[in-house]
Symmetry: C2
Subunit: 154 residues, 2 copies
């Protein structure tokens, strides 16, 4: 698959890796493919999380960008801030073992896991409190609607 877009010729003047089938997609496709908005992709780029190539001023995303985006989305899903994600990604070095990166990721992950568990506890607590309040309210409503006339109450 080559350029998937109207005006396929645009980038062909560029001798992009003729060897492998580097796949370039523009921002619209990229967005659709990953369920994000154009704004989001540009925002991530602005924050240094993505670095698509350019054909003039048009952004061209490769599979490298896709991989990065997937990581970003995973990070977001597990509750990392974009800042954290960037910090971890910035440590990536294609020529090394990335031990530092992995350690940082693990460290951050442990902390995030703790946060998530704490949040879950808070939510459980909230659910408990809310349920309790709801029973009270329900009871009050019963007393007001099911006993319009005076009566002896225990």
């Amino acid at each position: 698959m080559k350029l998937v877009s109207p005006g396929e010729a645009a980038a062909n003047t560029n001798d992009i890796p003729a060897e492998a089938g580097e796949e370039f997609v523009r921002i619209g496709e990229m967005a659709k493919k990953y369920g994000v908005t154009l704004r989001t992709l540009r925002f991530y780029e602005d924050k240094g999380l993505l670095n698509p190539h350019r054909d003039g001023s048009t952004r061209l995303y490769t599979r490298r960008d896709k991989a990065r985006l997937k990581l970003i989305l995973l990070g977001r899903k597990v509750g990392f801030s974009l800042r954290d994600v960037k910090q971890m990604m910035d440590l990536y070095d294609p020529t090394g073992t990335n031990t530092k990166q992995l350690r940082l990721a693990l460290d951050k992950s442990e902390k995030q896991l703790a946060r998530l568990q704490k949040q879950r506890a808070l939510i459980d607590d909230a659910i408990g409190e809310l349920s309790k309040s709801m029973s009270v309210v329900r009871q009050m409503l019963v007393e007001r609607t099911a006993a319009p006339q005076a009566s002896a109450a225990g």
Copy 2:
């Protein structure tokens, strides 16, 4: 009107009024008593959630305000926005049965409960994903630190 002077308040923090008269506390005491900041109390007032009396320009909180604050804090704890809390409180009528208020509260509570459960599900999901990623990272680290020399992988 009995006022608690700053000096007295400072010296007799636990001094309980001998009489069952109206007890007025100033913002500092109120804040301490409920673990909130002065800013918070003023903010709640600005948002129409509290309505302390005034001695000149000094705010004086009564037990009514305390009751309201307790409700606000409970609402906050279970995840309601201050706007929701206000909406519910605004329906309170000391002369009626408050059926409408109770119904609204119940309605909002049901929705909030649903939101909380959804959140919990998301968090559980996130915890799962994160744990999974962590094992992968750990494994990668093991491969990098425990096998500096060439070896069969897998």
